[in-house]
């Protein structure tokens, strides 16, 4: 059984107790993805699976055979940051930085959901084909990622800059491009 992690094929451990989070950090030494609560309450361990955001702490790796994982390490192209990474720097979207990899992966997954027209708790018109992006939409959709430094305003500023102004940005920056093998 294997999965792709940032474009590289890796084996899934025999012990079914290993979470995706532990596989990434302890087996592959990809420590960008962080352990926060380890019980699904904080979002620090958010990663992308086939472009969809999930929390890796409660995901048993054995359930993800054949899937493609993207972590924060897979976002930049060489020395060029993903636009959202650059925007987090620009807008002080963090202080200690511990929640940041999860915030960024989560926001990229969120952009894909908005692009696909998926409503949220604050969306008023459920019949609409497209979602009108707004600060309120971003805040609701990012509520699964906690920041104990209280950088939420900077985080929403960064997300708004990348996904809030340019209608084409959702499509361009939502799903990560296929990394080279």
């Amino acid at each position: 059984m294997t999965i792709q992690v940032n474009g590289s094929r890796v084996s899934i451990p025999d012990d079914p107790r290993v979470s995706l989070l532990d596989l990434l950090r302890e087996h592959l030494h990809l420590t960008g993805t962080k352990v926060g609560c380890n019980q699904g309450a904080c979002g620090a361990c958010t990663i992308l699976v086939d472009g969809e955001r999930i929390i890796s702490c409660l995901a048993l790796a054995v359930q993800y055979d054949g899937r493609e994982i993207t972590t924060v390490e897979g976002l930049a192209k060489g020395d060029t940051l993903h636009p959202l990474q650059a925007a987090f720097v620009e807008h002080d979207g963090f202080q200690c930085g511990y929640c940041t990899p999860g915030q960024i992966c989560s926001a990229i997954g969120m952009a894909g959901e908005i692009e696909r027209g998926i409503p949220s708790h604050v969306t008023e018109d459920f019949g609409a084909e497209t979602i009108a992006v707004s600060r309120t939409e971003f805040q609701e959709r990012m509520s699964g990622n906690l920041c104990r430094c209280g950088a939420h305003n900077g985080i929403i500023d960064a997300i708004s800059e990348v996904y809030g102004n340019d209608p084409g940005a959702l499509e361009r920056f939502a799903l990560v491009e296929e990394p080279a093998e």
Partner: protein, 327 residues
């Protein structure tokens, strides 16, 4: 986490065959894996059923058949659900976070366990649900989030789901398969009140598997909604929630569905209130009176008396919103 064996089922028959006495069925794992890490749950075998049924079928009679393996996020975004059963979409989207909804399955949502902190506190607290006969530390403890309706001396926990509250209101049914064959149970009969056996939470027999949820064709469901009252604006469990569908004709309630969440060991279908409302005036006063009748048997604990008034106000507000009258 205690070691276990993992199997992946290809279909329902295969799942039943793989599952022995010490097995649990695994969906997205968002609740079960957490409980296993806390050793509250200790299955020897996990049978992964996420691949068993992950389709939403629109049937000719207007009903929807939702596979138990459908992700919460997929169901909430489904166009037929959004337009014909908006209370269900809104309930799902009010629950958990986007990441968790992308993992969690419909079947798993029905079988999630209470978030009573004493239930989770494996080493420090007594809990009849976790260890039958041990006692309940929630009753004399900090019980702000606990039940006001249908509780017992053995257990005052609440069912944590939002989705199930909407399903209970909208006349959904649960499709089940097992060694004894297939059966169909009304959503309102699927979960149990705690009584003397709070460890038994549903009518599922050992080894039985949920295969699908059926949503019947229900015209008034297109005019339905869900409101959740909680300690913060997002990503928190309900203190009180209300799912309702309403049809008003010439100022009178011609049909209504109403269910409450966060108040009982199961999604609470408000049958008394519905009976009072039907045929009566669609006014805030009538909505309030029906809510009070439903809550007449509510019993507060030390810390949760506020839920009775909160539930009455939330019911009144939701029905008033649907009726287009001032609350």
């Amino acid at each position: 986490m205690i070691p276990f064996t993992y199997h992946r089922a290809t279909d329902a028959a295969h799942a039943l065959q793989l599952a022995g006495a010490d097995a649990k069925f695994l969906g997205g794992g968002t609740n079960l894996v957490d409980l296993m890490r806390e050793t509250v749950e200790r299955p020897a075998v996990l049978v992964d059923v996420t691949g068993v049924s992950d389709r939403v079928e629109e049937r000719e009679d207007g009903s929807l058949l939702i596979g138990a393996g459908v992700k919460n996020s997929t169901l909430a975004a489904h166009r037929a659900v959004r337009t014909r059963y908006p209370a269900l979409s809104r309930a799902i989207l009010a629950g958990a976070s986007a990441q968790i909804r992308n993992m969690a399955t419909v079947g798993g949502n029905l079988l999630q366990r209470t978030r009573c902190t004493y239930f989770y506190d494996n080493e420090g607290s007594r809990c009849n649900k976790r260890a039958p006969g041990a006692g309940c530390d929630a009753i004399g403890g900090f019980n702000r989030i606990h039940a006001i309706l249908g509780a017992s001396d053995a257990c005052v926990a609440t069912h944590p789901s939002d989705m199930c509250v909407a399903l209970a209101a909208l006349d959904a049914a649960v499709h089940i398969t097992g060694a004894g064959g297939d059966r169909r149970v009304a959503m309102t009969d699927f979960h149990r009140l705690p009584g003397e056996q709070p460890d038994i939470e549903t009518v599922l027999a050992p080894g039985e598997l949920i295969t699908a949820i059926e949503l019947p064709a229900l015209g008034l469901a297109a005019h339905s909604t869900y409101r959740k009252v909680r300690d913060r604006a997002s990503y928190a469990f309900a203190l009180v929630s209300v799912a309702a569908a309403l049809k008003v004709t010439d100022g009178r309630v011609s049909d209504v569905r109403l269910a409450l969440g966060g108040v009982a060991h199961k999604p609470w279908r408000a049958a008394k209130a519905e009976a009072l409302l039907k045929g009566g005036p669609a006014t805030a006063e009538a909505f309030r009176a029906a809510a009070e009748a439903e809550l007449a048997e509510a019993r507060p604990l030390n810390d949760n008396g506020f839920k009775i008034e909160l539930a009455a106000r939330t019911v009144t507000a939701v029905l008033s919103e649907l009726a287009g009258v001032d609350a």
